[in-house]
Symmetry: C2
Subunit: 261 residues, 2 copies
């Protein structure tokens, strides 16, 4: 898998903005791209020309830290060196094309890269009217994002992020460690430490007449055990609880209960 | 599944912005939220107060079309009515918390809603410094996005979109029809129409001395068949090809070859 990620990184998709209008949006696209490990930005006939000061400022440095910008006059030129082209559009078209979600589109982009060494370009239309039919005709497939049908007006940089994020998941997802706990400096408590805490707590509760009937004790103990088990308590936190019990009962902490390396 | 989506829609997560600074970013957050079907926006001590004209303008109407804004003085007040709280942060913290990707976080949000009727709040820090440790301490778990480690500076609205999009996938994903073809008004060609086209084409090629040797014919025919099968051609497109052949060979289109309802 690490080798796959290496291969994918060398074949990351190009982002092609066709007739974008606001420099600020181009800058925010660059920022979103670099967040997601994408660096090849291609502009087809940007309305306000290039370079663009508003783009620089909105990019938060992305245009100086890795994103390269290339200018083209026509969409066809911008995708000349690409083997696979995807067009983003929310509106239904009369053309017969496969329609992908962003997730499925990036699955296909990765498959193209890994099986054939193919590079993908992803086309985004300008702010006002999106892609033209001519741009869509030269694409292999369409990407349509799952959006609230009552409010589909998606900002250009947001559209790029939605798709870039799916790429990012595949390249950088492993580093988040989805179901792992982020450990501090202290290890989790051992069972004997947890059980020692629960034993002491129920004894103190007993001594303070907490249990109205003897029958309640096993139930409460079970509930406490479940609660302390569920919270993935650390050895240090067990110490804290011992301190709390000691304070509330006016004792010194019985250190033998919670030590033991 | 439709019933699940209905349930989820009534328990959509609240987005809590803690000490946000720029009105423009708040507006873009509202826009991203409504794109993804989220409508409960809570602001904790926004720097420039509320209402905010820059937010209105950047929201592209989202603040008038469904997103409600509620103001709070403290994070704890903003999440008072919530059963589950998630904190977004890129920086490692010393606290022991489960760390989710946006995808896993929304899985958990959905599970909380469907199994317990629990509502989730998702906390986002301000532009400058993110969430404070006090905000993270009252959260059940952390969300960390998979980002390019060399450029993790994520715009506030982009952070909201990344997580909102995972929600949107679950609520609106079905309407994209991932692997379906988007059909126009014409149906796909029947096999006999495709085979009729290939037969005519190879006959014309034969008549025009295309095949240098007789042995080439089966190979070329197989390649043509494969190509026309792969492209999911429509009946209308078969007609177009017949027209092309007729034009190139100076004939009238032989209508009997491509008709047949």
């Amino acid at each position: 898998m690490d080798k796959d990620i290496e291969t994918l990184s060398t074949l990351a998709p190009a982002i092609v903005l066709v007739k974008p209008q606001l420099g600020e949006n181009i800058g925010m696209v660059a920022r979103a791209m670099l967040n997601n490990g994408l660096t090849d930005l291609r502009l087809v006939a940007p309305r306000d020309g290039w370079p663009n000061a508003a783009a620089d400022s909105a990019s938060s440095g992305a245009l100086n830290k890795g994103v390269t910008v290339t200018l083209y006059g026509e969409t066809a030129q911008a995708v000349e060196d690409m083997q696979y082209v995807l067009a983003t559009t929310a509106r239904p078209r009369d053309m017969i094309k496969e329609v992908y979600t962003p997730e499925a589109a990036i699955d296909e982009t990765c498959a193209q890269a890994l099986s054939g060494g193919n590079r993908t370009a992803i086309l985004f239309g300008g702010e006002r009217s999106g892609l033209e039919n001519e741009d869509i005709a030269l694409s292999n497939a369409i990407i349509t994002a799952p959006l609230n049908p009552a409010f589909t007006s998606l900002n250009l940089a947001q559209a790029v992020l939605m798709i870039g994020y799916e790429w990012s998941k595949r390249i950088y997802g492993a580093q988040v460690m989805p179901t792992e706990f982020k450990k501090g400096d202290t290890p989790f408590a051992r069972r004997e430490e947890i059980d020692g805490l629960i034993t002491r707590l129920t004894e103190e509760l007993d001594a303070h007449h907490f249990f109205r009937s003897e029958g309640l004790k096993p139930t409460v103990t079970r509930n406490l055990t479940n609660m302390f088990s569920r919270m993935q308590i650390t050895a240090q936190e067990v110490n804290t609880f011992h301190g709390i019990i000691s304070a509330l009962t006016g004792q010194k902490p019985p250190r033998s209960d919670h030590k033991g390396e």
